[in-house]
């Protein structure tokens, strides 16, 4: 009795090396400018070219400015990295969506929206949030640069099979609770290493009823649990999302594909190495208070007691104390974007909240669409007018203040309410203090200038 993970894994086994290591075939390789230059150098040193260039897709996202993308990148090191990717893609015949291209965007946002991500695939990228693509019933996981070189050179990797975990979220979600709250709730319960060594399958009624965008948010943060990845069995919603996407088969080929994809589910008697059950009703709007994504509370809860020196160090960094409520805490920075919450549904939620309201005067807000397509959609749906009227500026696509490799940095000592995925020390800029939230709370803080009840 196989799990969905087992079914996909077994289909991609090229060779078994020993009891723990196998050669796994990779269907789709996504690359970006930051984790690939050394990989191209490595294969060049071996005197080989990219083995299957048509299965690799490149974009520039981590290091790009989110303003004036039509102009040359000002920072010389960032420009060099993007230029290096451009050259490497030309040399090896890899499709590349650079700045200015209509398909450019965060690698994990463009994969699904172009239909590069399809059920049953193995997908890797030199980026830990590759787990996002698991929302479509894929084995998708982040890899290091040495492994990027392996995939470029052979379309394969030498890997160890992870254990399987199922997280079932049953019942129904409360009003004002969305996918981000669900995954922050799970993170609070299991901790930031609760999934180490595992590949997760998410299931249950809450997941079944969730949009593809929401499923991507959940799978995206599987890595914050320490898991290699997370996936969700494809269903009618998945097929509806993929229908008519640029790279998805059309017509009768699509019907055949759906027939095949519909078989991708764990068998009823399949046994997982670990299982957890949550109920949707227990989940409330969440916010993090510490320096790893497992350090979260319900917005109306108090910060729990620090259990050890690491917790104390985190609270000292954040400027919080055990027992303190976060409600009313003034916040001067808001970031809406990233591969976690930079899709159209997220911007719709923000627009819906801020409509007819004005940004608080103390707030500087970064609204950064995940891709050019998301930006286009923001314009087409009239959301741009809503944001403009609320004094909220929408920037151009990229990873931006999620990891602050470009100019979009939160100043030292400042709190930032962020829809991204990591609240590590200095993640959004040296000394910056990140509080992870869903898009609705980000919208509320942009308007109120402080943390409020939803």
């Amino acid at each position: 009795m196989k799990t969905l993970f087992d079914k996909i894994w077994d289909k991609h086994l090229v060779k078994t090396l020993d009891e723990s290591s196998v050669v796994l075939y990779i269907d789709r390789h996504l690359i970006h400018e930051v984790t690939t230059p050394q990989a191209f150098t490595a294969i060049k040193a071996k005197g080989v070219k990219v083995f299957r260039p048509s299965q690799t897709t490149a974009t520039a996202d981590h290091n790009v400015p989110t303003k004036n993308q039509h102009l040359p990148i000002v920072n010389a090191a960032s420009r060099n990295q993007v230029d290096t990717l451009t050259e490497n893609c030309e040399t090896h015949g890899i499709e590349y969506f650079g700045l200015g291209h209509k398909n450019q965007g965060i690698v994990h946002v463009i994969g699904p929206e172009l239909g590069l991500t399809q059920p049953g695939m193995t997908i890797v990228c030199g980026d830990s949030h590759t787990s996002t693509h698991g929302a479509f019933g894929t084995i998708a996981f982040g890899i290091g640069t040495s492994q990027v070189a392996q995939v470029l050179a052979s379309q394969c990797m030498i890997v160890t099979k992870p254990k399987t975990m199922r997280i079932i979220i049953d019942g129904e979600l409360n009003h004002n609770v969305d996918a981000k709250d669900v995954i922050l709730h799970v993170l609070k319960a299991l901790g930031s290493n609760g999934g180490t060594g595992y590949f997760i399958e998410y299931a249950g009624r809450v997941i079944e009823e969730m949009s593809m965008e929401g499923r991507m948010t959940i799978c995206n943060m599987s890595i914050e649990l320490g898991a290699r990845g997370g996936l969700i069995a494809p269903d009618q919603q998945t097929f509806d999302y993929l229908k008519n996407k640029e790279r998805v088969p059309k017509g009768t080929q699509f019907i055949d594909a759906v027939d095949k994809w519909a078989k991708l589910k764990s068998e009823p008697q399949a046994i997982f190495d670990q299982e957890y059950l949550f109920s949707g009703e227990e989940i409330q709007p969440m916010i993090t208070y510490g320096t790893n994504p497992g350090m979260g509370v319900q917005v109306e809860e108090e910060i729990p007691n620090a259990l050890n020196n690491s917790d104390k160090k985190a609270l000292a960094y954040m400027g919080f104390e055990s027992g303190q409520s976060l409600l009313g805490t003034p916040v001067n920075y808001v970031f809406v974007g990233s591969c976690t919450n930079g899709r159209i549904e997220d911007f719709r939620k923000v627009a819906n909240y801020v409509k007819g309201k004005k940004k608080a005067s103390n707030v500087k807000a970064y609204l950064v669409p995940g891709s050019q397509k998301v930006l286009e959609q923001i314009k087409e749906e009239g959301l741009m007018d809503v944001f403009n009227a609320a004094n909220l500026e929408v920037r151009e696509p990229g990873c931006s203040a999620c990891l602050a490799m470009n100019e979009d940095k939160i100043p030292s000592g400042e709190y930032c309410v962020s829809t991204s995925n990591r609240n590590f020390e200095g993640r959004q800029g040296a000394g910056a203090k990140t509080l992870l939230v869903g898009p609705l709370m980000a919208a509320a803080v942009a308007i109120e200038g402080k943390i409020v009840k939803l």
Partner: protein, 206 residues
């Protein structure tokens, strides 16, 4: 890439007993703009090692002249977060050859092994014990034997065996990497592709 062969390591320890040390701490994102693998050691733990004016933080263990050696002792879930291999490069470039912790994040562990940096999981008890002995006597040394998969505290004689993937162990002992192996496997991979009839394999031509 040609690597140092790993087999016996004997060294004192630099203790950093903090849990959940993420790769953003090991090497902050703003230092990831290079296109080569060199020099990342200068910025290892940059924001913990140096203050905003680039002066060394004297309380940070790497800045404490008492603590020297090629073994870093850290808390549980070391290397969580970003998949950046630059974290493993930075630790290696700085001079570390071993990281000991009660547990590691999966991607970091693989990145370390791919770069000749040995990640060793020991029990929390032995980690605590090594930490205490190092604090009392910073010259405390460990002896690591990869063949036997053992770690021994030289003075006290405490010893524990660690697990390591057999394939990775042999790569480390022989200074090999996966790339050569996979390149010579290309004919088998082509056979696999034909056998699967590209059933689940997408192409950009669709």
């Amino acid at each position: 890439m040609k690597r140092e062969k790993v087999n016996f390591i004997k060294s004192s320890i630099v203790p950093l007993p903090i849990s959940n040390i993420d790769t953003d701490q090991i090497i902050p994102a703003r230092f990831l703009k290079a296109t080569d693998r060199n020099g990342f050691g200068d910025n290892l733990f940059r924001d913990w090692r140096f203050d905003e004016n680039n002066n060394p933080e004297n309380n940070f263990p790497l800045n404490n002249p008492k603590y020297k050696g090629t073994i870093l002792l850290a808390g549980e879930n070391f290397g969580c977060g970003s998949s950046r291999e630059h974290a493993a490069w930075a630790l290696f470039d700085y001079g570390f050859r071993v990281v000991i912790a009660p547990s590691f994040a999966d991607i970091f562990k693989e990145n370390a092994l791919n770069n000749g940096l040995l990640p060793i999981e020991l029990s929390q008890e032995l980690c605590n014990s090594i930490l205490n002995e190092t604090k009392q006597d910073p010259s405390t040394e460990l002896e690591i034997n990869l063949e036997n998969q053992s770690v021994r505290v030289i003075v006290s004689g405490e010893q524990e065996y660690f697990k390591i993937n057999a394939y990775k162990k042999s790569c480390l002992q022989n200074g090999l990497d996966d790339l050569d192996y996979l390149i010579q496997l290309r004919p088998d991979i082509e056979q696999f592709e034909k056998a699967q009839k590209k059933e689940v394999i997408a192409t950009n031509e669709i």
